[in-house]
């Protein structure tokens, strides 16, 4: 009884949202990757340029997808692939390395609610995804004619992809016990899905069964939606895409919130 009252007295009472705390966590997350920008910004940009070069040389000549030249078709796919992989990488590696260094307690101790932690981490990851994508977009625009056909769709799909992957990375980081676990998820799930969901070719090249399956794959809708924003050409339904992506984001954010609230694998 007594101890309870004492706890109440010494605990700092923050009414409303701890904006300063969220901002601090967010900037920590951003500085963490900016410090090693060679690996986190430069390397993915070069990878994207390499893909464009190789695929351009192999398939570039007189090949078209719908009304687009192959290169125009490919560029938005590469942009989305970059967002997906990098937003995921940031949160997952940040959390797992803190867990391994046992410094995660420094993030859990400050008066941040589970929701505030979720927001800080996910926005940090999303920032990396979008920043790399901006770099890739600027470098690709030298070679590929990029037109902003529908800026609303571009912003909607890129931001929702970034926060979606940020939250998936957060969940993976919390769940993982070793770096190996993170690289398993990255290599068996994230990489194959980001490569094979219509980044490099229209999904009508798939066998029929996989084409049907693609219509339940959120990565496909993200890539397709971003491509629609840039080129006004899409394979799937944009409305379905918007709804699916929003629902998935709500589900993932709630799961992250729940994991941090109960302290799943981080407060055990």
């Amino acid at each position: 009884m007594t101890s309870r009252t004492i706890t109440r007295e010494i605990r700092p009472v923050i009414s409303g949202t701890n904006w300063q705390g969220i901002w601090t966590l967010y900037t920590r997350e951003v500085h963490r990757y900016l410090k090693i920008f060679g690996q986190t910004l430069l390397a993915p940009i070069i990878t994207a340029i390499l893909f464009l070069t190789v695929f351009g040389i192999v398939f570039g000549e007189n090949r078209t997808v719908g009304k687009l030249s192959y290169i125009e078709f490919l560029a938005p796919g590469l942009l989305m692939m970059t967002i997906l992989q990098n937003a995921f990488a940031n949160t997952s590696t940040s959390i797992i390395s803190q867990k391994i260094n046992e410094s995660i307690v420094d993030t859990l101790m400050p008066p941040l609610s589970p929701l505030e932690l979720t927001i800080g981490f996910i926005l940090g990851g999303a920032t990396r995804g979008l920043m790399v994508a901006l770099g890739v977009g600027l470098s690709l625009s030298i070679v590929v004619p990029i037109s902003l056909h529908n800026p609303g769709a571009i912003i909607l799909f890129s931001v929702s992809a970034a926060v979606m992957m940020g939250s998936m990375g957060l969940m993976t980081g919390i769940w993982a016990k070793k770096f190996d676990h993170v690289s398993t998820v990255t290599n068996f799930i994230i990489l194959p899905l980001s490569f094979l969901s219509g980044t490099f070719f229209p999904i009508n090249r798939f066998p029929d069964l996989l084409q049907v399956a693609s219509h339940y794959n959120p990565f496909f809708y993200l890539i397709d939606g971003l491509r629609f924003g840039f080129t006004n050409q899409s394979t799937g339904s944009i409305t379905t895409g918007v709804f699916l992506v929003i629902i998935i984001n709500i589900l993932l954010w709630s799961t992250c919130y729940w994991m941090l609230r109960v302290g799943y694998k981080i407060k055990d």
Binding site: G38, Q39, L50, S183, F188, L191, R205
Partner: protein, 281 residues
């Protein structure tokens, strides 16, 4: 009581008198030492086999999938050879090049950063012996990944070797070439970020753009000429010749280049270690 300092000196002298004789000058090689270092290097990557062997296999298989799907029903051919059959040897060589390079770099840089490189430099191993053991460790990783990639491709593409000797020669010479470059870069690098930059800016682009995915006939004339000075191109081209019997350049020229590059790199690496550059400073 005797002076402890004096006693230490005495002990050292006794140790020095009783140390095993290796006498590299008389042509005696420290084979036990080479084998030990080689086993250390090999076990180091086998312990994390998931990241060092399985992940590269998956990456390569994803590439094969993308390209076979993208080329799709058109069944493209390069000089009369089905595209996937043309691509497969290129991907195998790409995996060999990248992985043989990665082993020694991370091993040496890791040891330097943790300050335990001295444990490798103190034992009685000459610089030739160090190069041999480190390079063989890296080459083993490259070859192992190459074999794993080849085996996992067989169910999807017909891979019939036309010349086993060419395949073996190019697989070995390319692995050793990259492994020695890895040793040199590992010695030179001081931060892991420098490694990431070399890998991202030089090794990956070269292994991507040296004819892995296409015949260099597709390139502008200027780049075709430049390819003739690119050892990565010969490695990829030669392995492809071993598998499908088609090559962009004369095989004899490729063999000479690979041998020459290996010898030059070996001498350079030996000189670096012998001088103690960034290892004994």
């Amino acid at each position: 009581m005797s002076d402890p300092k004096h006693k230490t000196k005495e002990n050292i002298l006794i140790l020095l008198e009783n140390r095993p004789e290796t006498e590299p000058a008389k042509g005696k090689r420290n084979w036990v030492g080479i084998k030990t270092l080689y086993m250390r290097e090999t076990n180091r990557f086998l312990k994390v086999y998931f990241q060092t062997v399985i992940v590269p296999v998956i990456t390569t298989m994803i590439f094969l999938t993308i390209f076979s799907l993208a080329i799709g029903r058109e069944r493209g051919e390069i000089n009369g050879i089905p595209f996937t059959q043309f691509l497969a040897p290129g991907l195998i060589m790409m995996a060999i090049l990248q992985n043989a390079f990665a082993n020694a770099t991370s091993s040496i840089l890791g040891a330097k950063m943790q300050g335990n490189i001295v444990d490798t430099l103190t034992p009685p191993l000459t610089s030739h012996e160090l190069v041999l053991a480190y390079a063989s460790g890296g080459a083993t990783r490259g070859l192992l990944v190459g074999i794993a990639v080849t085996l996992s491709m067989i169910p999807f593409t017909p891979l019939m070797p036309t010349s086993i000797i060419l395949i073996l020669f190019y697989a070995f010479s390319a692995s050793y070439m990259m492994a020695i470059i890895g040793v040199i870069i590992g010695i030179w690098a001081e931060k892991s970020e420098q490694l990431a930059l070399i890998t991202g800016l030089i090794v990956t682009p070269l292994s991507f753009l040296s004819g892995t995915f296409y015949s260099i006939e597709r390139l502008p004339q200027f780049l075709q000429t430049l390819s003739m000075f690119n050892p990565f191109f010969y490695a990829i081209d030669g392995l492809r010749a071993g598998f499908i019997g088609y090559s962009d350049s004369p095989i004899f020229q490729g063999i000479l280049v690979m041998i020459g590059v290996n010898i030059i790199l070996w001498i350079l690496c030996h000189q670096l270690i012998a001088s103690g550059y960034r290892l004994k400073e």
